[in-house]
Amino acid sequence: MESVPLQPGDWAFVLGNWPVLAQGLYVTVLLTVGSLLLGFLAGFPAGAVEVYGAGPLRSVVRGAGVLLRGTPIVVLIVLFFFGAPWPDLGGLPLGGWLLVPRFDVNGRALLAATTALGLRSAAYQSQVFRGAIRSIDEGQMEAARAINLSTFQAVRHVVLPQALRRSIPGFQNEFTIVLKDTSIAIAIGLGELLFQGRQLFLQPGQSAVVEVVFVISAVYFVLTFATNRTLDLVERRYAIPEEST
């Protein structure tokens, strides 16, 4: 059947099937949040180790970062799905609130995708933090030591609060990238937003391809836009008066 874009019937079809997309959105948000969280929890210490660490620990962290940043994300996801010894988690029940109907998602696929996206994000977030830590003037660390703060206390109370603030723009970037890259989990059949959209237009006799893609894109855009504006507000809320030279 000829696919004629933008027919009223196709729009009605997409909107009528909103629960399918809502389930996809649910998985996409879960995957994004999980990956960013894992990326932060692993990436933040990794960035600190790259600056303050020494010896084998630092080499290992650096090496892992280079490897993760140098591998295509689709390869990582497939590798973590087929190559890692996850237990068979079966179907993970999700949804059932916020208008999203109950549904099952492949637990192994969700775990694999979260790990792959999360570790790769850690590798990038570590660079954001490393740069932010480095940008804090050495002298403050020295002043902290001179009033007898331990290195740990100085990092915790002097460097980190400033480095975190300076990381926000880099983190906004990272959020946008991770959100959009969750769509690559389609490669292992995880029911995220793009996958669910494809389920819709692959239904026999459907011609709503453009409409589905349009709606999905709009959803990604709204998420990106809203989150970035929120982080802008956070940045402004915690801004330090800057030296105006």
Partner: protein, 242 residues
């Protein structure tokens, strides 16, 4: 009774570069000692060796009779405060927050105690009304006074100053020197590296001229300015005093 601070044949090299070559002198409680010397003569290094931001190669430094290398760095730095040329205030903390950090983390004060102690130290440097300002909102002179309050709040026995006014616009130097003068009058023991010859002459009990990592001449400032024994001292002080 032992002297509060004593340098005993202190040597320090960075790689091949000999920076301190057998420095020896001492000072007592409530003394104000000013060290002058050309750029690169080892003045900053000398100060940094006292609180072990830099470790010496040979000789020893005694604080109240005990080698600073025998004590753990923590108790040493509790007793010796330092004020830097670059001030190095914590940019994300207000003037008050700069002073309270050490009080809370190192001296273990409660929030209320720390606040009170910090306020009284800010008042001591004439900045009671700027407690809530961030470093970027302060003038250079005010920043340096916060730096002094931050060091004072730790209640050190000895305060080191490394060119505290060198980074300041000329019109801001006076307010910082005034605070230092007040501290000296209150009996604070101070080891000061500075190029402010007026301050050296009027406030120092003893003036040390350091050159090439050695003490060239040392004595009451008036004598060094008026009747220096070494030609090198005369050249240096004469040039700066002109």
């Amino acid at each position: 009774m032992s002297r509060l601070l004593e340098f005993d044949g202190v040597y320090k090299a960075f790689g091949d570069e000999e920076v301190l070559e057998g420095v020896g002198f001492g000072m007592d409680r409530t003394d104000v000692e000013v060290v002058v010397g050309p750029s690169g003569s080892g003045k900053s290094t000398l100060l940094r060796c006292v609180n072990r931001l830099t470790e010496i190669d040979d000789g020893d430094i005694y604080l109240d009779g005990d080698s600073v290398h025998g004590m753990d760095v923590d108790s040493l730095r509790r007793r010796v405060g330092m004020v830097f040329q670059g001030v190095n205030l914590f940019a994300h903390r207000t003037a008050l927050g700069n002073v309270t950090l050490g009080l809370r983390q190192v001296r273990g004060m409660s929030k209320a105690e720390a606040r009170e102690a910090a306020e009284s130290n800010l008042a001591r440097v004439g900045l009671a009304d700027q407690a809530d300002s961030y470093p970027a909102e302060l003038s250079g002179g005010q920043k340096q006074r916060v730096g002094i309050a931050r060091a004072l709040a730790m209640e050190p026995e000895l305060l080191l100053f490394d060119e505290p006014t060198s980074a300041l616009d000329p019109e801001l130097i006076g307010e910082v020197l005034e605070v230092m003068q007040d501290l000296a009058d209150d009996g604070m023991t101070m080891l000061v590296v500075t190029h402010e010859m007026g301050f050296a002459r009027s406030v120092a009990d003893t003036l040390t001229f350091l050159d090439g990592g050695r003490v060239v001449e040392r004595g009451p400032p008036d004598r060094l300015f008026e009747r220096p024994e070494r030609k090198r001292t005369d050249q240096f002080l004469g040039r700066l005093d002109a």
